[in-house]
């Protein structure tokens, strides 16, 4: 384990840039900490934190200048690995007798993900299962995925809607990264415990002016992560959830939540594991060129389950919310052998109606009919 003093962190980012990576990390924009292009540590949200609760997010000043003193931002890394809109192919025709399919090609960019939290590492692993681990491989995802460098950060504070501890997905990063950092803040001094889990990670750390961390520093790092684990904003009792949900399809709580649910789809858009898409066909005016695009979709739309003649299978908001929650916490287990939720809390924070997945699940359990 190394200890990086402040300038070395800049060198770490600089080193990644030198190795050809575009840096994407947390930065303050439009009243939130978002993941966007950064150039150096100066673009990180120094001294900022976030206050998160159901349907509410506010940026707040910290009384120190910590660079990672906040929880996860509105949008996840999904945006970069599984972008909101992807062109699949172009088709050309000359009359009816000819159809040319031209695959769209994309040069996957080397990107360094800076400041990935443990829950999001788990989320990326879940996306991997869907796009790489099933019967078919999404080649574009694979290419993008293969070119990232992950700088994880162990969480120093828990957000008001975090529940990774319940989901077993944090707050300590245990896999899926090249380098992991723990931010130590003492007497106005910042230092970063740094550990590598890959060769290129180790190579990067070696190139920095960093010393070995002292056992006290390592212990301090552990304490910080433990403190975070003890201060989760939310919790979720996961015991027997898939069975509970399978048995709760007629639960009155679904009516109750449907009365509040806006079916706006925000939860699915911000969720780091929600992967659903639709296809849009576009043609040019002459009708000789067409394009197929894959775009993020949401199970909260009526079109999502549209069947000819019958309209949407899930025509009521109740059935749409039920599908979403049941998939996240229940049926994902039968499909992929694990939960679909990593406890990041985004769906809670970014729901304009403040609907809380942990509260809904608890209600289903407690008010079991």
């Amino acid at each position: 384990m190394k200890l990086l003093e402040q300038p070395a962190l800049d060198d770490l980012l600089g080193g990644l840039a030198d190795r050809g990576y575009r840096l994407v990390g947390p930065t303050v924009a439009d009243g939130a900490i978002v993941y966007d292009e950064i150039r150096s540590a100066a673009d990180l949200p120094a001294g900022w934190t976030d206050e998160q609760d159901a349907g509410r997010y506010r940026l707040k000043r910290r009384d120190d200048d910590a660079l990672f003193g906040y929880a996860v931002g509105p949008q996840s890394w999904k945006r970069l690995l599984h972008p909101p809109s992807v062109s699949l192919f172009r088709a050309r025709r000359n009359g009816e007798g000819e159809l040319q399919i031209e695959p769209e090609t994309e040069e996957a960019e080397p990107i360094a993900f800076v400041g990935v939290r443990s829950c999001d590492l788990h989320a990326i692993a879940k996306l991997d299962r869907i796009f790489l681990g099933g019967r078919y491989v999404d080649a574009a995802y694979e290419a993008r995925r293969g070119r990232i460098f992950v700088v994880a950060v162990n969480c120093g504070v828990a957000g008001g809607t975090c529940f990774c501890v319940s989901m077993g997905t944090g707050p300590r990063a245990t896999f899926g990264y090249d380098v992991v950092l723990t931010e130590l803040l003492e007497d106005g001094r910042r230092g970063y415990l740094a550990d590598a889990a890959s060769e290129r990670g180790a190579e990067l750390l070696e190139s920095l002016a960093a010393r070995e961390a002292t056992p006290e520093e390592v212990a301090e790092g552990d304490r910080i992560v433990e403190r975070t684990a003890d201060s989760m904003g939310r919790r979720l009792d996961t015991a027997g959830l898939p069975e509970l949900l399978a048995g709760s399809r007629d639960h009155p709580r679904w009516e109750d939540v449907a009365e509040r649910c806006l079916t706006c789809g925000n939860c699915t858009m911000v969720c780091p594991t929600c992967f659903c898409t639709t296809i849009e066909d576009v043609t040019d005016l002459t009708g000789s060129e067409a394009e197929r695009r894959q775009v993020w979709d949401s199970c909260f739309t009526i079109d999502f389950t549209y069947l000819h003649g019958g309209g949407g299978v899930r025509s009521t908001p109740k059935s749409r919310y039920r599908h979403w929650l049941t998939h996240k916490l229940g049926t994902w287990h039968s499909q992929f052998g694990e939960s679909g939720c990593v406890g990041c809390g985004r769906c809670i924070t970014w729901c304009p109606a403040g609907i809380d997945i942990t509260e809904e699940a608890a209600a289903l359990r407690e008010e079991a009919p």
């Binding site: 924009a29 439009d30 009243g31 939130a32 978002v34 349907g55 509410r56 997010y57 506010r58 940026l59 509105p74 949008q75 945006r79 909101p84 809109s85 009359g95 009365e259 509040r260 649910c261 806006l262 079916t263 706006c264 789809g265 925000n266 858009m269 911000v270 849009e280 066909d281 576009v282 043609t283 040019d284 005016l285 002459t286 009708g287 000789s288 775009v295 993020w296 949401s298 909260f300 739309t301 009526i302 079109d303 908001p317 924070t349 970014w350 729901c351 304009p352 109606a353 403040g354």
Partner: protein, 255 residues
């Protein structure tokens, strides 16, 4: 491919002209469009008028006079497909605010001699008068969506015009939610997508210019607005603007 160019007609009823202007705003596509389609009736662009029947009629504006109520019947009869464009034609537009007030009083506010004005008491959408094949939302319509509708009708496919919320576009665009992060009341969750989540991208709340989405829960959104400190009057004003006569918004404004 069709040997004959399909005939397009553009009609105007009570409106601001903005939606038909959207067609002229397709600067890059306009000439190609004029090549692919026979623009048979489009007074804003040309005084040449070819007789119907038209393959596709785009109708802008709402019905506010007895003459227009008759004219729309003739337009429908002359059109194989009829697509309404914009909030006026699909929901009655902002002039439907008269539906909630006394027209005579309105007339006398604006015009010195109200008896010269012939007008109905209501502003109603085209669909209240004739069958409509497709309704394109927006005040004004989005020109990319307008092109998509033209394209889809030319190619006989379903237009890719989703009925879900502005929020979905908002998140795809990567905006930070103004409602959650700024406490700004936003109509995005109950508003039909199509604009690309423009207002939140400009740090303001959506004001509903695309009308209600497919399953709008205005009751729940109203509750959230009140929690953010909006007054009931603000809620009523918000729902009672460009799509005031669209049923879900009408109900929401009535509280």
């Amino acid at each position: 491919m069709a040997a004959r160019r399909k005939k397009l007609a553009v009609w105007k009823f009570a409106s601001c002209d903005g939606c038909q202007l959207s067609l002229l705003d397709c600067e890059d596509e306009l000439l190609a469009l004029a090549g692919e389609l026979e623009i048979s009736h489009f007074l804003e662009a040309s005084s040449a008028v070819a007789p119907g029947p038209y393959d596709l009629s785009l109708v802008e504006g709402s019905i506010t006079t007895p003459e227009d109520a008759e004219r729309i019947q003739r337009v429908r009869r002359a059109s194989k497909k009829l697509v309404t464009i914009g909030a006026c034609a699909t929901a009655g537009g902002i002039q439907a605010l008269r539906n909630f007030a006394d027209v005579e009083a309105f007339t006398s506010v604006v015009y010195a001699t109200p008896q010269y004005i012939s007008t109905l008491e209501t502003s109603t959408p085209i669909s209240a008068h004739v069958p409509v094949d497709f309704e394109l939302h927006g005040c004004p319509v989005n020109k990319h969506q307008l092109l998509e509708v033209l394209n889809a009708f030319l190619n006989d496919r379903r237009p890719a015009i989703p009925g879900y919320s502005v929020c979905i576009e908002c998140k795809r665009r990567g905006n930070v939610c103004v409602m959650v992060a700024h406490g700004t009341p936003c109509l995005g969750p109950v508003t039909h997508a199509g604009c690309g989540a423009l207002c939140p991208a400009y740090h303001r709340g959506c004001f509903g210019c695309f009308g209600p989405m497919e399953s709008p829960n205005t009751v729940s959104l109203t509750r959230e607005w009140l929690k953010l400190g909006a007054g009931e009057r603000d809620v009523r004003r918000a729902f009672r603007t460009f799509n005031a006569n669209a049923e879900p918004f009408k109900t929401a404004a009535d509280g």
